[in-house]
């Protein structure tokens, strides 16, 4: 039995320790908001937060999150969307939408961990490794910088 905190609640699961966290979330806990894209940590569709930091959970063995805090897109309340989600809706960012839970979790983590206002370019680099095959990058950029501005993260 292995325990960790998921979206504010303790969970207990019984799977081999090397099971990728992505599949524990999707197949054992029924949380399918986190997507499978590449299985090698290359695309970012499975981006979630581990203790507030963005990670790619398709390559994280579940044992690595023992007794730690995991946050997925399901932690965000659709009734009270996160400012990043509000901006995403306002700018109609998604096309197929498959990468967007990962993009959004990456963006939230970058903004939450940015203590000092910084250059837009530096902030954008931190969300630049989440792939979008539809190419929604222009809209992501607009929406992301708008939230960053609102939250006082830009110089």
């Amino acid at each position: 039995m292995l325990q960790f905190n998921l979206n504010g609640k303790p969970v207990e699961i019984d799977v081999p320790e090397d099971t990728p966290l992505l599949w524990v979330l999707r197949e054992e806990l029924g949380l399918t908001g986190t997507k499978f894209g590449c299985g090698r940590g290359l695309c970012g569709a499975c981006t979630i937060h581990l203790n507030g930091q963005a990670i790619r959970c398709c390559i994280i063995p579940v044992a690595a999150v023992k007794d730690q805090s995991v946050r997925t897109i399901e932690a965000l309340d659709p009734e009270q969307p996160h400012p990043v989600q509000v901006a995403w809706m306002k700018h109609n960012v998604p096309q197929c939408g498959y990468c967007q839970p990962g993009q959004i979790m990456q963006a939230i983590s970058v903004l939450e961990n940015q203590n000092q206002p910084t250059e837009p370019k530096l902030l954008l680099e931190k969300i630049s490794n989440n792939l979008c095959r539809c190419g929604t990058y222009h809209k992501i950029k607009t929406a992301f910088l708008e939230v960053a501005q609102q939250l006082g993260k830009l110089k």
Binding site: V15, P16, T19, P20, W23, V24, R26, E27, E28, G30, T32, G33, K35, F36, G37, C38, G39, R40, L42, C43, A45, I73, E74, L76, P78, P81, Q85, W88, M89, N92, V93, P94, Q95, C96, G97, Y98, C99, Q100, P101, I104, L124, E125, I127, S128, N129, N130, L131, C132, R133, C134, G135, T136, Y137, H138, K139, I140, K141
Partner: protein, 730 residues
């Protein structure tokens, strides 16, 4: 006009799964409207259902892959029905021949959805609204011209009468629906050209939408198929006991695609894969299928006809050979398909571009009657770009038929890169004869694989009518394939080779065959020929000592819409004031595809080692714009897709095995690599044309044309990153 007889025929033909038959015309809007039935107080029709509490449920019959079609369809219907598109609850159409195109399968492809539905959906909406007006006039005993409609409500202008559309759900009569309802004057449009959102943005931003891969059923098993690493090879032997004994394996058996391994969870398959020893499986691989990409390119090139290079003082010859690689679609959602076979009924959950073809696969493999096979079309697909889903559906149905549980087949990303059907490679030559400053000959010859042949090979056996015995079906498939060959019907390879340019086209094609599966890839043949044609037009301009813009203007003088986009992009990019240098240059390209004209200029500047794309200017004429936001998004999407391919895209083979396996070896553009892309849409009231693909074919040529103008180096093979590296080495 569709007569009763034709309607009856249509209904009859629907009873079989007649797919490639010469189907009657698409039912016109009045046929659709007349199919309404008041069921439990609801109004029901092929596209619209209105519940007693005035909720509007719209069925969208083109699948949503990210291209925004559900929003487009809601806008077309809502415009004429006077229902705000945002009010619709949207659901995908099931597999149903009534949603098919004339004489074809039900499919979403070729950037054709809005073009095809422009009148059908508007007339369906208009017929409904006008029927409401007639019913209201009759019941309220008011003249028609005293009645108005707005956002799902109907009544008098002074609102002394004002009620929901649903009030009339059960009182609409057959004769209230007009055969050919009058459509709105475009000047009075409320939503077309103005509605500027995506209706799925909310669900997709809140993480609420589900994809086919997210489907679950109680007791679901998960399957993978181990495939022969070489296309065309087949499973020879396998050590069933050893594989079945790996912990986590629920079942193991051969299927047509390879060896199926069924586990209870996907994560179990990861371990199982790593534990299968090579010696437990053996494959039959004909030696001639052990392709090496380099040799393959040589063998293609060897098929080109010798050029007629009898140059003399009267004329000059320009000749060039271009090579383009295989490309993968690589949508972010890996291929998957969930199938449940239970009690004589088959259910298929699939992200498919063709619901009826998916259904036909189910019917053929299961042997069940058509009315016991159900396709649950994914409301949302995690990208598509033309990916072929036949293979994963065939695998999944074959597996589910042998397992006493619902089974979901999931391809790993590596499976998708190595085994999915690819954009074919091509080696193409162009030759122009220039005499007295005019182009006297224009010869095009391409060597490539046919896409149609692959469709017939994979889909053919499933596309034959269900009541035909298998052997006839197979015979008919072979016949169809031979007929296409005989008539040189390999349009995909040369698609886009003839353009609105006034040129003496001489088009030739050499069709290659191999077991490497090929399929329609975003913009299809245009993705090959846009590059080839636009590179060569620039090469000819250079040989004639003409500005590339001037030559295009001359060649397009008979095509006003083409000329207009070229002139506009020149204006926006400052083409005429430019002074190309080794530090900064512009490259121009124009292409016509899917009835849309696209002109592009790419601005580059020199960096320490290479060039950087500063900006992509795109001008499109796609007729009437239904949703400006979506048009812009699709153009940018196409440009980024085209740039990824131009810079990095290739699937190569070594000993018959694909060398690219994931996004590290098959790179796609990242956010920070993406240049600014400006989009200008020509104002137009013409019938809408395609927008999901037409801005792609120009990208690579606009880029290489810019590089030529900056450096004098002409790149004739892609991807550029590789071509540039090879040049540096040389």
């Amino acid at each position: 006009m569709i007569t009763t007889t034709r309607r009856q025929f249509l209904e009859k033909s629907l009873q079989g799964s007649l797919v490639l038959s010469f189907a009657p015309l698409f039912p016109s809007c009045h046929t659709i409207a007349k199919e309404k039935m008041a069921v439990q107080g609801s109004f029901n029709s092929l596209y619209l259902t209105v519940t007693p509490d005035n909720q509007f449920l719209l069925t969208f019959d083109k699948v949503e892959m990210g291209q925004g079609v559900m929003t487009g369809q809601a806008t077309l219907f809502g415009e004429e029905a006077d229902i705000n598109p945002a009010l619709f609850k949207l659901s995908p159409a099931p597999a149903d021949q009534r949603y098919a195109n004339p004489g074809a399968i039900q499919i979403t492809s070729g950037s054709s959805s809005t073009h095809q539905r422009w009148f059908i959906l508007r007339k369906a909406g208009a017929a409904y609204r006008q029927a409401l007006l007639k019913a209201a006039a009759r019941i309220w005993q008011l003249p028609l011209d005293k009645l108005i409609t707005a956002d799902g409500y109907i009544g008098t202008a002074d609102r002394s009468q004002w009620t929901s559309y649903a009030t009339f759900n059960t009182t609409l009569k057959e004769e209230d629906f007009e055969d050919d309802p009058k459509l709105k004057d475009p000047r009075t449009f409320n939503y077309i050209g103005k509605f500027d959102r995506s209706l799925d943005a909310r669900e997709k931003s809140l993480g609420l939408c589900t994809y086919a891969i997210d489907e679950n059923l109680p007791g679901k098993k998960v399957a993978i198929v181990i495939r022969c690493p070489v296309h065309g090879g087949t499973l020879k032997t396998f050590d069933r006991a050893s594989i079945a004994n790996i912990p986590g394996v629920f079942a193991v058996f051969p299927v047509s695609g390879g060896l199926a391994i069924v586990c209870n969870k996907y994560y179990k398959t990861l371990k199982v894969r790593s534990q299968i020893k090579a010696e437990w499986l053996s494959w039959s691989i004909p030696e001639e299928f052990l392709y090496d990409s380099e040799k393959l390119f040589d063998s293609y090139q060897a098929k080109l006809s010798p050029i007629q290079n009898n140059e003399n003082s009267d004329h000059s010859i320009v000749h060039a050979i271009y090579s383009l690689p295989f490309l993968a679609h690589a949508p972010l959602e890996p291929q998957n398909c969930l199938v449940r076979y239970q009690k004589g009924r088959l259910d298929i959950w699939a992200a498919t571009q063709s619901p009826t073809l998916t259904k036909d696969v189910g019917i053929k493999i299961s042997g069940l009657p058509s009315d016991q096979v159900f396709v649950h079309v994914a409301k949302y697909m995690g990208g598509a770009f033309g990916r072929q889903t036949l293979t994963s559906t065939i695998d999944a149905v074959e597996i589910a038929m042998q397992v006493d549980a619902p089974v979901q087949l999931i391809w790993s990303r590596e499976d998708d890169m190595k085994f999915s059907a690819l954009r074919p490679m091509a080696v193409t030559q162009l030759q122009a004869k220039i005499e007295a400053n005019t182009i006297k000959e224009w010869r095009y010859q391409t060597v490539s694989q046919s896409l149609i042949q692959e469709l017939i090979r994979k889909g053919g056996p499933y596309m034959m009518p269900g009541w035909l015995p298998q052997f006839i079906g197979r015979g008919a498939t072979a016949l169809a394939a031979n007929t296409m060959k005989a008539f040189d019907m390999a349009p995909a390879a040369k698609e886009g080779a003839e353009q609105p340019y006034a040129l003496p086209y001489d088009i030739g094609i050499v069709q290659m065959d191999s077991p490497i599966p090929t399929f329609f890839w975003r913009s299809v043949g245009n993705s090959l020929n846009g590059f080839v044609m636009e590179s060569f037009v620039d090469e000819v301009a250079h040989a004639m000592n003409k500005d590339p813009l001037m030559l295009r203007r001359e060649l397009l003088r008979e095509s006003p819409r083409a000329l207009a986009v070229v002139n506009k992009v020149a204006e926006l990019s400052g083409w005429e004031g430019q002074n190309p240098s080794s530090d900064k240059a512009l490259g121009l390209a124009y292409h016509y595809s899917y009835l849309t004209h696209c002109a592009q200029v790419i601005a580059i500047s020199k960096t320490d080692e290479s060039y950087r794309v500063d900006k992509v200017y795109t001008v499109v004429d796609c007729g009437t714009v239904v949703n400006p936001h979506i048009v812009e998004a699709q153009v940018r999407s196409s440009v980024i897709f085209g740039l990824s391919a131009a810079l990095y895209g290739e699937i190569t083979f070594k000993q018959g095995t694909a060398e690219q396996t994931n996004y590290n070896s098959y790179r796609i553009l990242t956010l920070s690599e993406t240049p600014e892309v400006s989009v200008y849409t020509m104002p137009s009231q013409e019938h809408p044309s395609g927008i999901g693909e037409p801005a792609l074919p120009t990208v690579a040529a606009a880029l290489t044309n810019a590089i030529f103008r900056a450096s004098g180096v002409r790149y004739r093979s892609l991807p550029l990153a590789k071509a540039m590296k090879e040049r540096m080495k040389a």
